[in-house]
Symmetry: C2
Subunit: 226 residues, 2 copies
DNA sequence: GGTTCTACCTTTACACTGTACAGTAAAACC
DNA sequence: GGTTTTACTGTACAGTGTAAAGGTAGAACC
């Protein structure tokens, strides 16, 4: 009680910290393309034994909580006095970018019920921007749920797509179509051949179509939500 | 080549099959509330050694593919001649129900690039219904991407919520608010206290608000998409 | 400056995971 | 009836998260 606690001593050489561990875990997960590192691999990259991590995290789930919060910290916050519609558009785009940049994050999020500070700050800013934009509490809740659902769901689908060179994509599309005879799945075939496999098509572009539809809908309903 | 292959022999007592294994895995995952069973536990429940599974699946990922397809098989298909708007509404609701009934499915889906037959059949029916409803190919692609993103994303958020009795929910909300002082997160506090924690509030109801907004938006744009 | 304390890290161990590899018994086929 | 195939068992191994206990260097106190 004599001095401030909670601060790391910072005198000992090479001391670990929650932040350093999370940052290293994020870096490794990004590098290994979507797989969260094991405790041993992570510890090794920090020059430490595996069990050392457990002095900073109750268990691995706590580490994952920290990693999710790290991602939220990268998302651009909407200013409270900004025009709500472009602000929400930018924020959704920024959220999508962060989730695509860290493809492991979405898979981890659905089991995490302990939001971190960056997550709370992010939610607060979004709600604040909507409230300042004229939405009622209920309206802001509707909007937030809808926008976030869309972004999360879009990223899930985007990440599930076969990634790689155009040839690889072409090949994977063909292998699916081979399993799916055109007679049995006529509409799927039509869309694949006549639309999605056309040169220049990019599923990522669908993001803006859906987002703008949602934003227009929110604008239309803003003043009807009590 | 002399007889039909692909059929199980069915003469040997207690013979396994892809379908039986998948059904058992789904049942166990549902029972253990969200955790996919290990190969050993699954094998034990089938009265067999763990390695026996590998005669029916190349590896565990193939099993997961099968489980996802099992879930898709439970989703109500839209009839091709149905009115597209109520049909899409019912299909989205049915999809959500299936994903909530099998909470492990969403977490598994994002890494699965090998759709099964039920999945393809489902996609084909949805696209077919939209096309019959007057959407262009591009319009159907927009609609499909948007609706699916919404359903997936909504379910992710729904499942991440603390589940349990009202008291447990109340307690978990309070623990979050304790971490988040009202001065620092005013809008979050306002929404939690003045909206989400009010008796009778159910996050699940937000599903319909967002879904109807999207469906109305699709209707408005249907004839503008080329 | 010496003692005590304690925050941080190591060591060892255990139960559990997916799966490679080799073996075996029964069924299917000629 | 002998050969081949199919469906399964047994054993083994590298890797996982983490409990328990032990060690040690620096901080705190006198």
């Amino acid at each position: 009680m004599s001095t401030e606690t909670g601060e790391p001593p910072a005198t000992r050489r090479n001391t670990l910290s929650r932040e350093k561990v999370v940052a290293a875990a994020v870096a490794m997960a990004d590098a290994s393309d979507g797989k969260v590192p094991s405790t041993r691999k992570l510890a090794e990259s920090l020059g430490v034994q595996a069990m050392a991590l457990y002095h900073h995290f109750r268990n691995k789930d706590a580490l994952l909580d920290g990693m999710v919060d790290f991602v939220f910290a990268e998302v651009e916050l909407p200013a409270a006095d900004a025009d709500w519609k472009p602000a929400m558009r930018r924020r959704a785009a920024s959220m999508r970018e962060a989730l695509v940049r860290h493809p492991w994050a979405i898979a981890i999020m659905d089991s995490r019920a302990n939001p971190g500070i960056a997550t709370l700050r992010h939610h607060d800013a979004v709600i604040g921007c909507l409230r300042a934009g004229g939405f009622t509490i209920a309206g802001a809740a509707h909007s937030f749920a809808l926008l976030d659902s869309y972004v999360y769901g879009f990223v899930i689908q985007e990440l599930a797509l076969p990634l790689g060179s155009p040839e690889e994509i072409q090949q994977s599309a063909e292998s699916v179509l081979a399993l799916a005879p055109a007679e049995e799945f006529p509409h799927l075939t039509e869309m694949a051949v006549g639309h999605a496999m056309k040169p220049g098509y990019d599923y990522g572009d669908e993001f803006w179509t859906g987002l703008d539809l949602i934003l227009d809908g929110l604008e239309q309903r803003r003043d009807t939500w009590r």
